[in-house]
Symmetry: C2
Subunit: 212 residues, 2 copies
């Protein structure tokens, strides 16, 4: 038995990490503050000290999620690459399934929390910003392109998580490239210039050239 100091050091962080683990294993519904305390090696009353209550903890988790997502989306937006922004979305969702899952179950946390609202606004702005750079946006309303892209990657990420697409590909990001090529064609990548001079090849993912 190792020596347990009275002060944990960074219990807040440890509890959030434990929450991620539990959600990955059993889903957000099965999460309890007592179990998190146990995993962090701390008495069961401790979590309330940091987060007030269960919704408080999940609200913190969601804020963190939107910050992570916002970072990646903003980077893609800075490069003006719509396709890459979509892939970043998929990468985030499948790389941080616990965060992603809770973010879209608003009754589990407090969606009006200022930190959540701010981080979400940044993500939205990045999405809309890159959408405007897409050539297809000349034909359709830019907002419509943003929504279509969002639906596409969100649906893919969600279905992947639920296990409905596992037979289609090994890697969700690769699948996302293929699917984006099917739906949007070459036009998805602003970098490639004018849309579709020649016939696209059968979906190998090679019809779209992402930034890197």
């Amino acid at each position: 038995v190792t020596e347990r100091p009275y002060h944990h050091g960074n219990l807040r962080r440890a509890l959030l990490d434990a929450a991620v683990d539990v959600i990955d294993e059993k889903g957000p519904a099965a999460l309890s503050l007592r179990e998190l305390a146990g995993r962090a090696g701390v008495s069961h009353g401790a979590p309330a000290h940091h987060f007030g209550d269960k919704a408080g903890l999940l609200t913190a988790l969601v804020a963190e999620g939107y910050e992570l997502l916002g970072d990646e989306m903003a980077a893609a937006a800075a490069r003006g690459d719509f396709l890459e922004a979509g892939l970043a979305y998929v990468r985030f969702a499948t790389g941080h399934p616990a965060h992603f899952q809770v973010m879209f179950e608003p009754h589990l946390y407090r969606p009006d929390d200022p930190a959540v609202v701010a981080a979400r606004a940044r993500t939205d702005a990045a999405l809309r910003g890159t959408a405007a750079t897409v050539p297809a946006a000349r034909e359709h309303e830019a907002g419509s392109v943003a929504i279509a892209g969002w639906c596409l990657v969100h649906g893919l990420a969600t279905l992947w998580q639920a296990g409905n697409l596992r037979t289609m590909a090994d890697d969700p990001v690769e699948l996302a490239q293929r699917v984006a090529a099917t739906a949007f064609g070459r036009a998805a990548s602003a970098r490639d210039g004018a849309p579709a001079p020649g016939r696209g090849e059968p979906a190998t993912g090679s019809t779209v050239t992402p930034r890197r």
Copy 2:
């Protein structure tokens, strides 16, 4: 107080209906057999009699969900209309949010249940069947078109449910038409023949003519 007969009549149905209500109100995590029993006006032990346990009840709900969805998808498939199949998906998801929600949380029920597997297979077949009729399927693998379409409508339905698209439209099905037009263009509707001779109008939904 009205007279309560000893035999309920159709308790199984009543419990499933109550489950839908509770899930609509508070999400699947908050569902308890005891509450369902209470709502159906029956003792708390009764649900176990019909469904064995909680997962059994949700499994029945999911099987029912896939049957409802399969019916609508199969109808669209019979008409060979891919766009309409997608709209049927959105219509189902937003019209039966409780079913839809549980269907895509496999750890809440028994995904291997025979009734579930059979109903799901029918839905899948309808989706793939209609996808093959899309003109764009000549350029890309038909499977890829099916997946892209599925991701699009699934993402839209999911985001709508989470409240993330409510500001974009009054009606999710109308929004789905607009989004499908943006992503797939005229090609989405097999009925319209060759894809896109003229420039599409700004997204009013009128660039795609659904069957009815």
